[in-house]
Amino acid sequence: MASTVIGNEIQKWIDEIKEADILVGIPSYNNARTIGHVVRAVQAGLAKYFPERKSVLVNSDGGSTDGTTEIVQNTTIEDFQSILLHHRVEPAFKIATSYHGIPGKGSAFKTIFEIADALNVKACAVVDSDLRSITPEWIELLIKPVIEGEFDYVAPFYHRHKYDGTITNSIIYPLTRALYGKRVRQPIGGDFGFSGKLAKFYLTKDVWETDVARYGIDIWMTTTAIANNFKICQSFLGAKIHDPKDPAADLSAMLYQVVESAFDLMEIYSEVWKKTKGSEPVPTFGFQYAVGLEPVQVNLDRMIDKFRLGIKELMGIWKEFLSAQITDFLCKAEGLPKQEFYLPDEVWVDIICSFALAAHKKTINKEHLLKSITPLYIGRTASFVLETWDSTASDVEEKIEQLCKIFEDKKSQLSEKWE
């Protein structure tokens, strides 16, 4: 595929570097506060775990105005001795560039894939620029399974606060697991390792004008790797602590982009997921340990109010594709007092399946359909918070496991109604 995003300046860098073994990409947009730490962790990781390998660090920026790219250019580990006993003399090459195309994480990734392809790298990793908990070990854990284990895709596996990553826990993980049969716990984690071969494969796909170019990139990468039978694993990276995503991006847009990408992938790989039965664990690397996590503040009243507002105003739209049983339940839930508020797993799974079918059958305009899911998602999150208020992390994980099983059980109904 012809290169479309590499500019002259980057081409000069590529001509100079020629080939590389490892590439680590960092997409960014106004992350001046955290990106220095991420760059240092990546540099230390490459120096510590891959001293013999020719490595490149690529920052693909979306036009930051807070000096993010300058920080990337100027950040170096002055004194490697303080971190490592033995280190290589040559630091990793560093490329900082602005990407072209639709503003979003996916477009940033495309530039990283293009550079990886041009340098013919063996292994790549991408890490978010808003991370505060990244350590040099993340680079080892994301790259080594590719270089030494011949895996093509390394998904992250973190310990997160029970109310962190709620889109992952309530929709994307259970849905992806039920559909494609692989228990990848953080399919939209944001930090991945992958082979040069898979990066080339990604570039053959014409998806860069869709929501994949935005927040849909993570689920697209994971699903594409699974559905096309690439060798998958996950690595335990410890805690994931990060700044909130782009504050300008509202929840509704974020949810829409992720869910739309997941539903679009259901169309593309319908023959794959229909054949898949049950689910299986994927190989997991890394030493697992308990981590302390920052507390998360939750405003339950506001969440339930938003759910109620949705029920009051959007029921007319939902009635076009939700069954009478679900709409009756939702109407009853609207009247429940805060402490009794409850949206059970079965109802939630039915809601997601109904939305997937409505998107497939084009019952109403897709953007309207998927944006109308926001109040229901907020209601589900509020119900989950109430249910698990006093639960430990392992209790919560058990609860998510139950939800996954319900998704798997109801998959046959979804499959039957799909045609």
């Binding site: 889109i167 992952t168 949810l255 084009k362 944006k371």
Partner: protein, 232 residues
């Protein structure tokens, strides 16, 4: 007596017969044009239906939400059927006008001329109204969903206002096109719309000054208790 009968009955009858005989070829050609129009209309309707099916117009209309908008407007047929039927009817109407014109009757010609000159206005007005209705539904719902997601309590009112405003604008444009109460309707619309905006401004300024203060304070100082939930 004979000459009287000749003058009163036979001669007028002969003149009438002459006129009928003169008119008959025009009538015949008019009927032929009309029948040709019907046949051509049916032919074009079927031809375009096949062309639209071949280029997958219905899939395209579904993809971009047009099918759904039509459904919302109470139109159950797919876009390809509607368009091909429209082309068929347009052909039949055009040939009907031609056939009437070929009768060479001055009174009919006068009416036809006026009708033909006015017809584009009716057509454009109908298109404006139809598009206005579709757009008002679409944007009304978009506004409703966006305001619900933003947590605005008066989301229903916002959705309905957007819908009504767009439809009123379409009605104004359609009436303007038809030449009905030209200046009056535009002025009336401007007065109503301007009045609504002014009323809202005054209501917000006077009645809702505390709400405005609270809103600005929240925006500047941040809300007292907010979610830290990171959804992704």
């Amino acid at each position: 007596m004979d000459s009287f009968l000749q003058r009163v009955i036979v001669e007028p009858f002969n003149r009438f017969l002459d006129r009928v005989l003169q008119f008959l070829p025009d009538l015949l050609s008019s009927i032929l044009i009309f029948i040709a129009g019907i046949l051509l209309g049916l032919l074009l309707k079927n031809l375009f239906l096949r062309i639209f099916s071949a280029i997958k117009m219905d899939k395209f209309s579904q993809k971009y939400g047009l099918a759904e908008i039509l459904q919302k407007s109470g139109i159950k047929e797919p876009l390809s059927v509607i368009l091909s039927r429209f082309i068929g009817w347009l052909t039949i109407i055009s040939f009907s006008i031609l056939s009437l014109h070929s009768l060479n009757v001055p009174a009919v010609e006068g009416i036809l001329e006026k009708f033909i000159l006015y017809l584009p206005n009716v057509f454009v007005a109908a298109v404006i109204l139809f598009l206005g209705y579709l757009l008002s539904n679409f944007f009304g719902r978009a506004a409703l969903i966006a305001s619900v997601n933003a947590g605005i309590k008066i989301s229903g009112l916002i959705g309905r206002s957007v819908k009504l405003t767009i439809f009123l604008l379409a009605v104004t444009m359609a009436l303007e096109q038809l030449g009905i109460g030209k200046g009056t309707i535009v002025i009336a619309f401007a007065i109503i719309f301007g009045g609504i905006v002014l009323a809202l401004a005054i209501a917000f300024g006077l009645g809702g000054k505390d709400a405005a203060k609270e809103y600005l304070e929240k925006k500047i100082k941040g809300e007292e208790k907010r979610d830290d939930i990171k959804h992704l």
